[in-house]
Each structure stands twice: as C-alpha cells, then as structure tokens.
Amino acid sequence: MKKVNVFILFALFFFLFTFGINAATPTPLPTKDLSDQVSELKERIASRVAQLKLVERRSIIGKVTDVSGTQLTIKDIHEKDRFVDVDELTKFSSPSAKESFGISDITKGTTIGILGLHNKESKRLLARFVGVVVLPVFLHGVVTDIDAQNFAFTVAGKSDTYTIDFETSTRSLTYNSEEDMLERSGFSKITVGQRVSITGYESKADKNRIAASRVLRLPDIPKNPAIKTKQPNVKAATPSAKEQ
C-alpha cells in the first residue's frame, strides 16, 4: 500500500510541474503552414532549375536518314547521327509546300533544320520547329578552267571539281594581303591557278554546279597542296615545219 502511495505522489509531482511549463514566446499558429509552403516552393524551384539545366534550346541542321513514327534520324553537318523526337506541339514548314506540311511529308535525303529542346542526358532533341532548308555551299579551291562565254569557271576542291556560274547578282571581291583589305573585283579578274573561296547554292539538276552568290579571290595565298589539279597541256618544244 505504501508503494502505491509513493507512486501516486511521484505521478502528481510530475503532472503538477509539467502542466505549468509554457514556451518563453508564444509560437504563432500559422507557422507550420508557412514553413510547409516554403519547403514546397524550394522543392519546386530546385526541380525547375534541374530541369532547366538538363534541357537547353538547340538547333541542328542535317540530312534525314530515317523517319519512323514520331522519330527522325538525321546526319548533321559534322556527319554525326542525331535523334529527334516529334510531338503534337512540333510545327513543320517547307518553303515549297503549298498545303499543310507534316512529318509524313519528310522523306529520306531531305535537308532539314530543327529547333528544339536538347536533353543533355539522353542526347535527344525534342523538336519544336522543323523546316526544310537549303544549305549554302562554302567551297575553297583553285580555278582550273574559265568559260568566259558562259560566265562560268571550274574550281577544283579537296574532294571534287565544281562548275561555278558567275551570275549578275554574284558579288566578287579580292583579298589584298599586303594591305589586309577586301577590294571589289569582277569575273575578268579570275585566272586559272588562282585560289578562290566560293559561297553559293548547289544546282538541283547538277550537284557539281554552283550558282555563286559570292566569289572571293585570294591571289596572294597559294593553293592547298592537297588539291591535285591537272597540269595544263604544254606544247612540244620541237619547232614545227612552218617555223622552219
């Protein structure tokens, strides 16, 4: 019985003292909700930042190598295979299309430009804008032949030889290395063996024919030794009968 009394006394002692204890400053009631909101907001910002870092705006140009469902495979300008995803938000365009243009109109070999969201992890591009583009040709080579009648000349590049059409709209310049400046030039100034830099567009009918929009002559800079040009025909040194 004594033990019970002692226990009750201890219990009362604790209850009495504990009920009387209060916090030094009263805690406002809505604090718990606000802290929850702050932490939630922090989480949202963190996830958005991570999302932004993972995905970035990018644009690529390349030739279509495969079209399947909602995926396009293209070979970019650096000859790398790139995978592009298309969704309901993707907009398609083509300068030659008269009616609506979509993924079903894109065929293998078409050169397209894609603007979209690049995922750094998956290395895939989620396309937002897909358009058929015509790429310019930048040719650096040496003049091997001139067709003055047709205002055309032949340029040997590293891999192939091209016929360049000098059009009325073609802008011609010459680089003066001594004065380090560009000077206005013309078709008549182009000579065989000269180093030239051409900007233009490939002919649809002939891949080795370029309509030049700009011709830059570089007469003071030697030709690329990697470009093999045919030696011009040299007449035999033996005197002919007439000369004798």
Partner: protein, 141 residues
Amino acid sequence: MKTEKVVISFIAIAIGLFVAGVAFYFYQKSKTVSLTQTATITKTSPTSTPKSSLFLIIDEPTDEDVIDAKTVKVSGKTIPNATIIISTTITQEVVRPAKNGSFSVTVTIEDGQNLIDIISIAPTGEEIQDARTITYSAENF
C-alpha cells in the same frame, strides 16, 4: 606412418612432373619444320608523312546555339601567320590573327538557321575548316 605416406606421394608427383617435362622437352626439340612451312617476315617501317602544325580552335560561338541577336562573335585560335576566312550566307570576313594566334570578329546572321564556315589557311596553302550552326530565334519554347 601417415606422414611417410604423404611425403612419398609428394615425391612421386614431383618425379612424375619432372619426367613429363623432360619428355615434352625432347619431343619439342625433335620436331623439324619444313622450309615450305616457314615464312619470311619483313618488317617495313611506315612512310612518315609530315605532320602539319596548322590548327584551328573555335571558342565562340558554341555549335547549335540559339540566340536572339543578329550578330555573332566568332573567336578562336590558330597559327599566328594564318589567314582566316569566316563566311555566312550574307557576309564574308577575312582576318589575320594576333601574334599569339587568337582572332575575333563579329559577323551578321539571318533569321532562322545559319551556317558559319570558318577556314584557316597557312602560308603554305594548307587549310583547316570548321563550321557552326547558329540560329536566330525570338520564339519562346
């Protein structure tokens, strides 16, 4: 008695291995290879191609960048005495690098996707080419 058995078995294994080794050695030595089975290997040193010191590093712009300005700064590094040609569809710039080989030029681009062609030409005529895809877009996506 047990230890004796173990020692004897070990000795027997060692003797067996030794005998097998000797037999294998004599077998290999007695082998004769006919002249028809032999082949002469001539080691030819590869013809050394002269390494070019020409290089081109493009620092700016980053390839595949989407920008909202119609001018782009093209900068990088190459050999000091090179001639650099930077071409876009609407402009062409010829620049000479600084003494340390660095160069920087601002070029104009068109709406949409643009190809920037950069070529560095050494005084020997050797060249090195690179390209960048840059897009001008004000779209939000």
